[in-house]
Symmetry: D2
Subunit: 278 residues, 4 copies
């Protein structure tokens, strides 16, 4: 039987769950999973409902728009794989993890292509049967480079862009094309060590724990809504290089965790915070 | 405004959430938090609803019993502190943590008394103004000892018994008086190292992680529903004694975590599993 | 048999371990534990040696100063409890944890007194038989307040000052009296959220993990050498208040962990990094 | 400059470090890292020393055998990559992680070949340029199957066998060919859930944490010395299948961690415990 995922967010008011479940029951369908959350600070209601059966999506959407508060956002879609394009530079660990999962059908997404400003990961990517495009940043302006990347991405029309250790800062212009649709893995436990060389920063600071953060990319560098974070212990015996090495395992796992949440339609964005219903 | 907590579990069927929210709306009240879960293996529906306002508890209960499946269990209560009696032996760390939280009003429960088979923790407990009763197990049978403990507990009529490192095994007879109401902290990561001397067992096995488990006490030794668990890393340099010492911090935190969940009415028992809605 | 702890740090050069073990053997004594580390960035050698028996401390010290590089720092002491004065404000959780451990002889230190700028924790502290001094900061300048605190601390001559949630920023003038001898617990995972209201900052940033950091206090606010850190997961359902509450358990455990390391003579300071030999 | 790793274990006695460092100094060489540990329960001394320069290995070995207690075991080798053969069945996640690391030169070992009782992972493995041999267990006895595997392994003469989710139990006869040289990843937090279907066991027990354990394979099923363990939180919403899925990320990371330790010559076996010097 088909499964449909309904994502609703709107101002909170009395009886919302009642209204929504009523509309689903009206089609004589069963809710097989329901998660809701009210963010007190914004008085905003978030709900993720999984419905089994022959849902008339348009009918439900129209009914809900009628009943729910005026500013409601409603997304209804069949449970299905998403489509992504991956951007990388030279590091292999996140890309490798994604390609292997993809190869065995466990990514919940189709990797349409990988784009890089370097050529080093081309043979590796292609051995998985995934197209790899090199768009070098050398000898051209940032604007021109981004324009080329954007053009190439456009040929694939992906739902999401995944920055799997893409070591270039994207312009606001670029980001605006993919609101809440670019996922980055940052090699540190944000908001500590924003910017370049986080492991060098972590070493100098003598921290006892390092981590990785996956977040949506917004205008502000490394400051978009956080989707997943994890950490591992380190100590004084770790050199910068060893911290970076240890950090890679966390990075790839955190990136995969965040993509699982996104591809399962569990992530809402509320201002600069991610609401994750699971 | 008063807050009421409604706990429902029953066989799952279509439209349960709708029915329940309808009954709440009928009293023109607002649901301020709602959590539900369907356990597929048992087809059982669990729901925890927080309602603000002048709830007519009897009315709601009667309506729900009418509408919900026949085997529904419904508990409705005001949000309030629970009452507990603590059983201990000689170790101070869990008791100390609970008494300090209690002293500063953060336990969400009243500690009515502490009962022990040893006298060592008496002055410490009494310095917090909490009654302490010594019921020695020496020179009497287990049955007689338990009977005395039971008699003393009965004078306090607590809702829960907390075994804060009570080093005696309770008989099924005793346990049956408090179904799903006795909470134990087990000094290991169950189901590893059931029974005595878990840290010696952990040392001999050369494990790299140790933990603690808080669970309800049932007939089977150390096998009741698990409420909370946590772990810490250890290594070959830890002696049995050092493992035990390191373990104590985990034990006291895990016990407190599980009590917070219980005292906030977040824990359902389904067979031998604890369903925790938070 | 007595145990002596020898702490050495000096420029690294060939044969240091040989020289040191030779000097110990010359007294016909046994090394029961030996830990060493060379920090490559500074080419600095650190060693912690535990010696059993009738050590002639002066003899060993003199021999080592002769043989080791000119800038060697050597500390030799019997294994013994340290002495501390604790500074607090209004929060009880770290103080409570320390007082309970102290009461049962497991702190590896004598708590000589507790000093606070508030009176709220006085009865609690005194119930453990520990002196409590109120030095209010109201109506006097920061300089005068610190001078009074300093005067009171001086009457106890403690080896360490422990800031167990002391919510006032100490002046460099004050800190200079206790170089690498003031231990602070910071209610966040440094270097994220330096300064005030870290849980509010963490909430606004939507982090998925919060933590606590114990560090030596130096001139720079919250930037001294980190001794211990730990974290716990949080999510979008945690309010600022709930984050703070969850954070308290981490804070008290991290502070205790760092004090154990310090009181066992396992912590060296190298620039702004703590080298911990265990 | 060459680096040599010296591994020593022998009965503990006074002056061992002195004797060993003296022998190294006699060749005018520098110790660049030194780690030692005395296991009190067995009075056994373990030491790992890294020496830079033109070491005369034979000379050092002979000198040490002369000076050290009679039962000393001494291994001296240049720092170099190890060689391994991997055994798998049908699951890809651990194999994938190892092949990707190997491909980018970060495994510290050469993967000579992969052997499987199933064919499913053949194209994937071969796409990395690594030989893949199918030795089906169907239609033949366990003895005959193992004999064939053994014969195939022998053609590669690997230093280590890695069981990367090899779902067959090896006979003692087989194991005896590779004492302390077979590394297994067990899909649970041993010693909990020994044997088959650990995630089903974990689900039934309602645990709140699951984990993975990497260990050397010995006669006793799942009871060899533990090298690395790690855990992740789960809860009542995880089905058996979801626990297994979540567990895979832990399994692959734990296996890689344990192999790093082994390939860096950091693991000693003492009875049924692994001593890990790092």
């Amino acid at each position: 039987m088909d499964e449909h995922i309904v994502l609703i967010n709107c101002d909170d008011k009395k009886g919302l769950i009642y209204l929504i479940t009523q509309a689903v029951l009206a089609q004589n369908l069963n809710i097989i999973n329901n998660l809701e959350f009210v963010e007190k600070e914004t008085n905003r209601f978030f709900m993720r409902t999984v419905i089994a059966g022959n849902l008339n999506q348009e009918l439900l959407k129209n009914e809900l728009y009628e009943k729910l508060p005026a500013n409601a956002e409603i997304r209804i879609d069949k449970k299905r794989k998403k489509s992504v394009v991956i951007l990388v530079s030279k590091e292999y660990h996140c890309l490798g993890d994604l390609l292997v999962r993809h190869h065995f059908g466990e990514l919940r997404a189709h990797i349409l292509a990988v784009i890089s400003n370097h050529e080093v990961l081309k043979p590796f990517t292609e051995s998985f049967g995934v197209p790899f495009h090199i768009i070098s940043h050398e000898g051209i302006s940032r604007e021109d480079h981004e324009a080329e990347v954007l053009k190439k991405v456009a040929t694939y029309s992906p739902e999401y862009l995944v920055l799997a250790k893409y070591m270039r800062i994207l312009s606001n212009e670029f980001i605006r094309h993919f609101p809440d649709r670019i996922v980055n893995i940052h090699h540190s436990f944000l908001p500590a060590f924003i910017g370049a060389n986080p492991y060098r920063q972590a070493f100098n600071r003598g921290v006892k724990i390092i981590g990785a953060t996956s977040h949506f990319v917004t205008d502000a560098l490394d400051e978009g809504p956080i989707i997943a974070q994890n950490v591992i212990p380190v100590n004084h015996t770790h050199s910068v290089k060893e911290m970076a090495k240890a950090g890679r395992d966390v990075e790839k796992i955190v990136l995969s965790q965040s993509l699982r949440l996104i591809f399962e339609d569990r992530v809402f964005v509320s201002g600069n915070r991610a609401i994750i219903l699971e």
